[in-house]
């Protein structure tokens, strides 16, 4: 656990599991929202690069899952189309709704979205999420230092 910043209150954010390349999706975040552990909140980082192969980053994460030994890591919206070839595109609203359903059913309280300009491929999932009324999963924002004003 990270040190408590002020008395009676602490927050911890810990990477626990990876479901794909760790730099891209689903590092688990754990937050203790009060001194009472009964109020544990569990979140998951979203770094939404699985948007197909039309962008550099989308191509990169697809290539990473191409080798057959990594196919078991394919998300539900991915498909193995060859021995060493996959498609991974989670850009649809239907996919987002299913992700919300999965996350909610497995006890994820919130997603922490790494932010990008809203008109870029890396924001497709966030835009889809925002368009879903009253989702079971809450949200927070992660801003990279390089994108935060100095």
């Amino acid at each position: 656990m990270m040190p408590s910043i002020y008395s009676g209150h602490s927050v911890a954010i810990l990477p626990l599991i990876w479901m794909s390349r760790p730099s891209y999706l689903f590092t688990i975040v754990v937050c203790f929202s009060s001194a009472a552990l009964g109020s544990l909140r569990v979140g998951s980082i979203r770094w939404d690069a699985w948007t197909g192969t039309n962008t550099t980053v989308g191509l990169a994460v697809t290539n990473e899952l191409n080798p057959q030994r990594w196919h078991y890591r394919l998300p539900f919206f991915g498909n193995a189309i060859g021995a060493n070839s996959v498609t991974v595109n989670g850009s649809s609203l239907a996919t987002m709704k299913q992700e919300i359903a999965f996350a909610g059913s497995y006890g994820i309280d919130f997603w922490a979205f790494v932010t990008y300009p809203l008109n870029t491929s890396m924001s497709i999932a966030l835009n889809n999420y925002i368009s879903v009324p009253k989702p079971d999963v809450k949200m927070a924002l992660i801003v990279e230092g390089g994108r935060f004003a100095t």
């Binding site: 910043i5 009676g8 760790p22 730099s23 975040v29 109020s39 922490a112 230092g145 100095t150």
Partner: protein
């Protein structure tokens, strides 16, 4: 942060503080953190709970937290630095994981 779906951290007085995570900030961003707090207050929101998160050790992160006036620390996964020079090449997961 204005959205009802935005995650908050319960403050010591029971106040709801919007969770805001800064990934790998730099020490000159203290004024920006202050500006964020002022903007949140002006919008009628709770004081953001700002978390510094990086792949560095807790000691360095605590120095950063103190320098920019953040509230908490997080820890992101270790990044095997060589990977950064090989985007899109399918740099294998096990190589990065081996650096953990």
């Amino acid at each position: 942060m204005k959205l009802s779906r935005y995650e908050t951290i319960k403050g010591p007085a029971g106040d709801a503080r919007p969770l805001f995570i800064l990934l790998s900030p730099v020490q000159t961003q203290g004024p920006s953190v202050s500006s964020l707090r002022m903007a949140a207050a002006a919008a009628g929101l709770g004081n953001p709970y700002v978390v510094v998160m990086s792949g560095h050790g807790v000691s360095d992160q605590e120095k950063m937290r103190s320098a920019i006036g953040a509230d908490g620390l997080g820890e992101y996964m270790h990044l095997e630095l060589e990977w950064a020079n090989k985007p899109g090449t399918g740099y294998p997961f096990e190589s990065n994981a081996a650096g953990e």
